[in-house]
């Protein structure tokens, strides 16, 4: 493997070889960050905001974000899920200061302006003044001063929201491949197991790349490779929706062939037959899906990853925190009908994923070492060519095609040109 890598680098003449290039500036320049907030998160897209199960009962609410904008997701009395901007229509205070809870309505503590769970203004103290003095102007119309509403739609219990009035319907935005795999995992009622929050000192798009990248997974993550949870030699696919903004990566661990795989990886650091576990119960799972797929990373543009790794199920929501940081919110779940053994399997396997995950903790470091290396770089570009360097589907796992798909969509929405 090392030899092959050398040969490619010796022969490659950067200007002639096919490949896709992304200017590093998009990861560091506040101008791009601002345009992303406007053109992606506030633009013609749907962002993941919640699992329906997180707001199960009327009155339940959850505070979250679309891009950097604070948003409240509620379940109203009519049983429907709504999303509104978490900003009082009066003078801009946060209306909801808790992460989650249940309330009959939403009330800003500053001047007690009250809104129903759909965001309609229902109460303004001293609206008609006191003793004939003060009060709001006579033409003050409560209907004009609700919380800013987002469109909210669900598929398979995943709630998405959009600021756009003109964005295509959610089903069209996601496309059939994404919907099929959402519905595959969300095939029956779920039970939320808890949340994990991870602050990563890097640009959110480095994580978008990371989760569309089957190439790195067995080379960075020793646990994946050594224990055969994921190997690039496995039967699997890296495919996109028609628009190529979303990415589905899946693999089937039953296709492992330890002897042949050992040869393919040679003396790679991450294929370590000497590495053994004392307690193998960590890797004892159960086959839950008839299709035999043991790993799914469904990266949904712009801010969601829905995952199945062995018996761990989770959504990862990307929350942008400026050009050089993002927060990753992991919400783990199982199924409502999990028996005691299945609950125990999931609890144990959560050791594999999340910020302390034996196979996922490296991704934080991978993002951060890029961010640290590209600081201040205004001209240089990355080079993405594995598998051909084009946004093409692959029925193998030695490709970066889905990363190119992400960037082509980014180029359309944000562009690489600078204002100055």
């Amino acid at each position: 493997m090392t030899e092959t890598a050398l040969r490619v680098s010796q022969n490659s003449d950067a200007s002639k070889v096919a490949g896709y290039r992304v200017p590093y500036r998009v990861f560091t320049d506040p101008e791009f960050y601002r345009r992303e907030q406007e053109n992606i998160f506030q633009g013609e897209t749907w962002s993941f905001v919640a699992l329906e199960a997180e707001v199960g009962e009327p009155g339940d609410f959850k505070s979250t974000f679309v891009g950097e904008t604070p948003v409240i997701v509620t379940r109203a009395i009519d049983g429907k899920v709504h999303a509104v901007v978490n900003r009082c229509a009066h003078r801009g205070a946060l209306v909801c200061r808790e992460v989650r809870g249940n309330r009959p309505n939403l009330e800003c503590i500053y001047h007690q302006w009250a809104y129903d769970l759909e965001g309609n203004l229902i109460g303004v103290p001293f609206r008609r003044g006191l003793r004939g003095q003060g009060g709001m102007p006579g033409d003050f119309d409560m209907k004009q001063h609700g919380l800013r509403k987002l469109r909210a739609e669900s598929i398979g219990g995943l709630v998405f929201a959009s600021f756009s009035e003109t964005v295509e319907p959610l089903r069209d935005f996601l496309g059939p491949i994404v919907i099929e795999h959402i519905e595959r995992i969300m095939c029956k009622p779920i039970k939320v197991l808890g949340d994990q929050r991870q602050h990563v000192h890097g640009n959110w798009k480095l994580y978008a790349e990371n989760t569309r990248d089957p190439y790195h997974a067995s080379l960075l993550h020793l646990f994946h490779n050594t224990f055969g949870l994921y190997r690039s030699t496995q039967t699997g696919k890296s495919v996109m929706d028609a628009s190529k903004r979303h990415s589905l990566l899946y693999s089937i661990a039953a296709s492992n062939d330890d002897a042949a795989d050992k040869q393919a990886y040679g003396d790679s650091r991450t294929f370590d037959t000497e590495f053994k576990l004392q307690d193998m119960s960590l890797l004892k799972g159960r086959q839950e899906f008839d299709d035999g797929i043991t790993l799914v990373i469904l990266a949904v543009f712009p801010n969601l990853v829905l995952q199945q790794i062995q018996n761990t199920l989770a959504v990862r929501q990307i929350v942008t925190k400026g050009p050089d940081a993002f927060e990753l919110v992991w919400t783990h779940f199982g199924y409502a009908d999990d028996d005691a053994e299945m609950q125990a399997i999931r609890q144990k396997q959560t050791n594999l994923i999340g910020p302390a995950g034996l196979i996922s903790m490296e991704d934080g470091e991978a993002v951060e070492i890029v961010q640290r290396a590209i600081i201040g770089e205004m001209e240089a570009k990355s080079y993405i060519a594995m598998g051909g360097g084009r946004a093409e589907n692959a029925d193998h796992l030695v490709t970066e095609g889905s990363i190119v798909g992400f960037w082509e969509n980014y180029e359309k929405l944000v562009g690489y040109g600078t204002m100055s």
């Binding site: 992460v99 939320v192 197991l193 808890g194 949340d195 994990q196 929050r197 991870q198 602050h199 990563v200 000192h201 960075l220 020793l222 646990f223 050594t226 370590d272 590495f275 576990l277 004392q278 307690d279 119960s281 960590l282 927060e327 783990h332 609950q343 609890q347 144990k348 959560t350 050791n351 999340g354 910020p355 302390a356 034996l358 903790m361 490296e362 934080g364 470091e365 991978a366 951060e368």
Partner: protein
């Protein structure tokens, strides 16, 4: 001195010392020795207060055997990739919550400072330990150690025990 009080102070001393050794071995990178502070069928759990207070099971790290503790350390040494860093624990007083036949439950507040390769030290994780300690043997050991952390956002990753 009243024998009961003497015995109580003795147990408190044992629990305090066990926690001090636990912190010291982690901070001094004596991680291969760290599992020796636990019984073979121990529970070791690091869980966000956000989940703990909702009675949700999801933990950052969940081990239910000493073997899993050893595996965590071997994984840290051989498998995992993470930024260079070290810990410094600051412990509050250990309070014995209950005692039954030399098996005690104790609580201790803690803060873990993290120092990265650039030399900056930051508060990494703060919370409380809820411990079950078996003091009936030759030396005390944790049968269960649960770290419930307030620092809800984990900075980049968690690889060392808390």
């Amino acid at each position: 001195m009243d024998l009961a009080i003497f015995e109580r102070l003795r147990l408190q001393h044992l629990a305090t010392e066990l926690n001090a050794i636990h912190a010291e071995w982690i901070d001094d990178d004596r991680l291969e020795e760290w599992p020796e502070l636990f019984t073979d069928d121990c529970i070791y759990k690091i869980i966000a207060r956000e989940n703990h207070e909702r009675n949700l099971s999801l933990s950052a790290i969940f081990c239910d055997s000493k073997g899993m503790l050893v595996d965590r350390i071997i994984s840290l040494r051989k498998a995992n990739i993470f930024p260079v860093h070290s810990y410094r624990h600051i412990l509050g007083p250990t309070r014995i919550v209950s005692e039954h036949e030399l098996k005690i439950t104790a609580q201790t507040n803690y803060t873990v400072f993290m120092t990265r390769a650039d030399g900056r030290t930051e508060i990494y994780n703060s919370g409380k330990y809820i411990d079950e300690i078996d003091c009936s043997g030759e030396r005390p050991r944790f049968t269960s150690k649960v770290a419930v952390f307030d620092t809800n956002v984990i900075d980049t990753m968690m690889v060392r025990p808390i």
